[in-house]
């Protein structure tokens, strides 16, 4: 499944929608223009990624973070993007927090169900294995969080 950069395109339907919402009603876009814009968007992603990665490497970090991308935008002379991007990032962060809480809730609910199931039918090894797996999942979560905190800095 290894793809060349040129082979990976962004979905045409989404690109078309973004273009149409940006332009006034009554304006059409030729297929070739749409294709070229889609290609340009892919090139943009690669260029932005490369630029952002330079900032990460300068800071001796192996993980690209949001700050690197924002710095890249400035370097690429797309300062006009900075404010809307920062706003979008805040909304995204809040959204992710909410999602984490919900998924944690779901895991807790699952644990309760598994426990009640263990008492009734599943005993011995199967139940213990499931509990161990869930405990491992729980252990993974706290490990992920500190990584995120470092990344956000």
């Amino acid at each position: 499944m290894a793809e060349r950069p040129e082979d990976l395109n962004l979905p045409n339907a989404v690109i078309t929608r973004i273009i149409k919402e940006a332009l006034p009603d009554g304006v059409n876009v030729s297929k070739e223009a749409r294709r070229a814009i889609s290609q340009a968007a892919s090139v943009f992603v690669l260029y932005a990624t490369s630029c952002a990665n330079n900032f990460a490497m300068k800071a001796k970090r192996k993980t690209l973070n949001a700050g690197d991308v924002l710095a890249a935008m400035e370097e690429m002379e797309f300062e006009r993007f900075l404010e809307p991007l920062r706003e979008a990032l805040e909304v995204y962060k809040k959204d992710q927090k909410g999602k984490k809480e919900v998924s944690e809730q779901k895991r807790k609910d699952k644990e309760k169900k598994v426990d009640s199931g263990n008492e009734k039918s599943r005993e011995d090894e199967e139940g213990e294995e499931e509990e161990e797996e869930e405990q491992q999942c729980m252990e993974e979560e706290p490990e992920e969080e500190p990584e995120e905190e470092e990344v956000e800095n």
Partner: protein, 128 residues
């Protein structure tokens, strides 16, 4: 030979990005649960989040051999920036279409915009 070279690279990237992939799985699980809580939930979040699929953006980023790890936030910001970029280039190209008294954006309008606008200089020579 190509396969032998490519094999270790995806493995590293997969393990490196497994954390973020796990998070996206969590996000997918959450999206399924949203309809249960309320119908207005998905509408609000989709209008604010990126329209471009983060998985595809991430796949594009991974083609860069120098990139090892990318936080989920960085993938999101690049997706959002790409959206803004598409809007910008479409609008700039439209100016040339209107100069030609056309209501249809054509490839040459895009070429003109790329030539004229400094920020698009990186695109020169990259499009078919």
């Amino acid at each position: 030979m190509a396969a032998a070279v490519e094999a270790p690279v995806p493995a590293e990237q997969d393990s490196a990005l497994c954390g973020s992939e796990g998070e996206t799985r969590g996000a997918e699980v959450e999206e399924k649960s949203q309809p249960q809580t309320g119908s207005t939930g998905p509408a609000v979040s989709h209008s604010r989040l990126s329209k471009l699929p983060l998985a595809r953006i991430k796949a594009l980023m991974k083609t860069d051999p120098d990139v090892s790890l990318a936080s989920q936030e960085s993938v999101f910001i690049i997706a959002k920036a790409t959206e803004l970029f598409v809007e910008m280039i479409a609008k700039d190209a439209l100016v040339y279409a209107q100069q030609g008294k056309r209501k249809t954006l054509q490839r040459k309008d895009l070429d003109n915009a790329i030539e004229a606008v400094d920020e698009f200089a990186f695109l020169e020579g990259t499009l078919d």
